[in-house]
């Protein structure tokens, strides 16, 4: 399976609370009118500049192992290494919001429109996360159609750069995924262009395979703890 996805707008529109969280504004805050106005302006620009695109490609467990193998033939010590072996199906996935929105954010900063640029940046980041979730739902739906997913199973995405999977892992992932078809490339530091893109491997299997203890070395220094929200999300699917 390899497919370029047409992603409906409603699938990537973030909630205002997600955007404000990225702005460091607690969810119980009463937003001043000028911040609401700023959000509305940024959201309007977001609607005009987004160019959402996705690409999904199935991958075997053997190829996944190759992606995770580093020099010396060892598998990287990361959450993904523990989880993928317990999976039923795997797919690589990449989502982008396109170049125009990133260019617009840069232009706003260049024009000293820091607040507007920052708000648009947060909307785009939250939308990119939604794009990742769309990939999870798409893969789940695809597996359901094939009849290869059991009740109580779920799909979760893991991305290079997080949970012990070094960002350089992106290079190998891209060798398999070939996302140039939707205009995404990697720079020397393994970062994606356009910036507002998200990539990773979609893992389907029993929900429990994702419920890991935070006892990896990198968990000690991680303050993001995004894994908790992700696990909470799939728990809520029950």
């Amino acid at each position: 399976m390899r497919e370029i996805l047409t992603i409906p707008d409603e699938s990537i529109i973030p909630g205002i609370e997600d955007v404000m969280k990225l702005q460091g504004i607690p969810s119980d805050s009463i937003l001043p009118q000028k911040i609401t106005d700023l959000y509305n302006r940024a959201f309007s620009i977001f609607l005009d500049t987004k160019e959402p695109n996705g690409l999904i490609s199935g991958i075997s467990a053997i190829d996944m192992e190759n992606i995770l193998t580093i020099a010396g033939g060892n598998i990287i010590n990361s959450v993904i290494s523990s989880v993928f072996r317990k999976s039923n199906d795997l797919a690589l996935y990449v989502f982008t919001l396109g170049k125009e929105i990133s260019d617009t954010i840069n232009e706003l900063f260049d024009k000293n429109e820091f607040a507007l640029g920052s708000m648009l940046d947060s909307i785009a980041s939250a939308a990119a996360d939604k794009g990742g979730e769309y990939g999870e739902r798409f893969f789940l739906s695809y597996l359901k159609k094939l009849g290869t997913i059991a009740p109580g199973h779920s799909v979760l995405m893991y991305s290079p750069g997080y949970c012990g999977w070094d960002i350089t892992g992106q290079k190998k992932l891209f060798r398999y995924l070939k996302p140039g078809d939707i205009g995404i490339s990697l720079n020397d530091s393994s970062l994606m262009t356009p910036i507002k893109s998200i990539s990773g491997v979609l893992i389907s299997g029993r929900r429990e395979i994702h419920f890991l203890k935070e006892d990896f070395d990198f968990c000690k220094t991680c303050t993001g703890k995004n894994c908790r929200d992700r696990i909470k999300r799939i728990k809520q699917e029950v």
Partner: protein
């Protein structure tokens, strides 16, 4: 309310057009550019910075104030340059190689500029070599690095290693910040200081430069 006070008050409220207008009025009234900068613009940014630190205002408030500060700065900048008034110090900042998260770094840059420092912002995904080269080229005496990912923070140590290899450690000081780093981590990799937020970064720069 005096003109200088009006500059500060409007800056705090993020009223960029009013700040520009009052800055022009102040210049027309013969108030020195240095007074406008220190008592009007920087004073306003210090106040909004303190309020942000104390969670009285939000990030967009600070960024709107920063735009207002720049509106005033653009008017007095030619006068400051002409009269040879130098910045309080030069700082190179950037997000470390492999990392593209730069909201925090941008805020640090804005706050440092607001405090009267010259900031050379290298953007995101900055290699250790580029940090050091930029500091050498510009004469910056502080390098500020940011990371959001645990998988990229290790690259910060390479900057310290390069500075040591080139006998610049101690001459060019280093500050780190970002979600995964800590005071302990800064100490472990030989970085001079850790800053927990943008306001603290300004205080740390003041402390390191003694001004």
């Amino acid at each position: 309310m005096g003109i200088i006070n009006s500059i500060s008050t409007n800056l705090i409220s993020g009223n960029d057009k009013e700040v520009a207008s009052y800055t022009k009025k102040a210049m027309d009234a013969g108030i020195s550019a240095e007074t406008i900068l220190n008592d009007g613009l920087i004073n306003g940014m210090n106040i909004i910075g303190d309020r942000f630190r104390d969670h009285e205002v939000f990030l967009p408030d600070v960024l709107m104030a920063a735009k207002a500060m720049y509106a005033g700065m653009e008017l007095i900048k030619p006068v400051l340059i002409k009269s040879g008034i130098s910045s309080r110090g030069k700082i190179v900042i950037g997000t470390i190689q492999g990392d593209l998260h730069d909201i925090g770094k941008n805020l640090v840059g804005i706050m440092l500029k607001g405090a009267g420092y010259e900031v050379i912002d290298l953007g995101h995904d900055v290699s250790p070599e580029k940090f050091v080269e930029a500091a050498k080229e510009t004469g910056a005496t502080i390098i500020g690095m940011s990371a959001l990912l645990t998988t990229t923070m290790a690259n910060m140590k390479e900057v310290v290693d390069i500075l040591k290899n080139e006998n610049l450690h101690g001459k060019i000081r280093t500050i780190i910040g970002g979600a995964p780093v800590s005071k302990q981590y800064a100490s472990e990799i030989g970085v001079d200081r850790y800053s927990f937020d943008a306001g603290n970064a300004v205080d740390t720069v003041k402390e390191l430069l003694g001004k």
